[in-house]
Symmetry: C2
């Protein structure tokens, strides 16, 4: 049960929790109302329809996801520092919002049109600039040749997947290896960085 004073903010917090847990089609307005500690009719008073309320939450989720990318990619720092910063920021965001990636990816898989509203967003620009910096590093011979798009995909995959497969792996890892999955998630800041460095650093002579 949410505790904020402001009713609108209470609704948003409740909606975020329920939508992320159940998805658009699985969420119930009644459940959101209960979680917010208010009446169902009041939801419609504030946001008119379930779809509009969802749009609002989806937009906020997109911002959460993209702000980290922007922050790291737009800074004017050396390439390896940028990678390190991106990884740290991103795992930080995911540790606080572990269910966000699958929620987000599932909703866009089920309804890709929802992305239309974001096509002009900054994320894509800052990603482009990162791709260019990556190309420059390759041309200068400071990292091994790797297609920039593949590189980004590799990096994002290694960051996101451990959170996505947590329900699958956590019980196994815990039972069979005695490892707490959350510890493992925190370790990944260092592990992923090192793995990437190993993969792209030119062979030393």
């Amino acid at each position: 049960m949410v505790k904020t004073e402001n009713t609108e903010e209470r609704i948003l917090e409740a909606a975020r929790a329920v939508f992320i847990r159940k998805g658009l089609t699985g969420a119930r307005m009644q459940e959101i109302a209960d979680e917010a500690g208010i009446n169902k009719a009041l939801l419609h008073y504030y946001f008119r329809t379930k779809e509009k309320l969802f749009d609002r939450i989806f937009f906020e989720v997109f911002q959460t996801i993209s702000s980290g990318i922007n922050q790291a990619f737009t800074e004017n720092i050396p390439f390896f520092d940028k990678i390190k910063k991106f990884i740290d920021l991103y795992i930080g965001v995911l540790l606080e919002n572990p269910y966000l990636p699958i929620f987000f990816l599932n909703e866009i898989q089920q309804n890709p049109e929802r992305l239309q509203q974001f096509i002009e967003k900054d994320v894509f620009k800052s990603m482009s600039s990162f791709l260019i910096q990556l190309s420059d590093e390759i041309n200068a011979g400071r990292i091994r040749p790797v297609h920039p798009v593949h590189f980004i995909i590799n990096m994002i995959g290694m960051l996101v997947i451990p959170f996505a497969v947590k329900p699958l792996l956590a019980p196994i890892v815990s039972r069979q290896l005695g490892i707490d999955y959350n510890d493992l998630l925190r370790e990944r800041k260092e592990v992923v960085f090192q793995f990437i460095i190993n993969a792209i650093k030119p062979i030393e002579k």
Copy 2:
């Protein structure tokens, strides 16, 4: 619209398509019936409830996902060959079933209990045996030290994510770089293998 003669099989094909597209809560029995070219009542005649029909599909999806893992991990071949085989098999499965990972991961995020029925499955055994082989390789100094669990997560992340983010990246990659995303997906068999090799092969002297 599905064309198989056998009604039960027609229903299953239709249900698979609809459930994977819309998820458990988003799917409608009416839509499955339409897709199968039969009546809604007949669905219930064959599978009694939506939940039972979904369970059946979910089980099949799990098998599709885990059979590739089993095949590659249980074979008695050199370590790097095993990696290569796993990557090839897995990307092959995903190219044929691109929406499977997000569907699967979303459903287990929303209802982790559904995994209970699988805990005794072979995948987990064959994954354990791979973890052991990986440890052996590290101890023998044939690959750089890397925590086996982290290694598997890295590999799976790089394999799965490009399919999961396809709705997000495909339009950008296509518009801004003129690259067909499906070409890029096929390239990944080679790219991921090379990336992993670079990351874990000991530094040559």
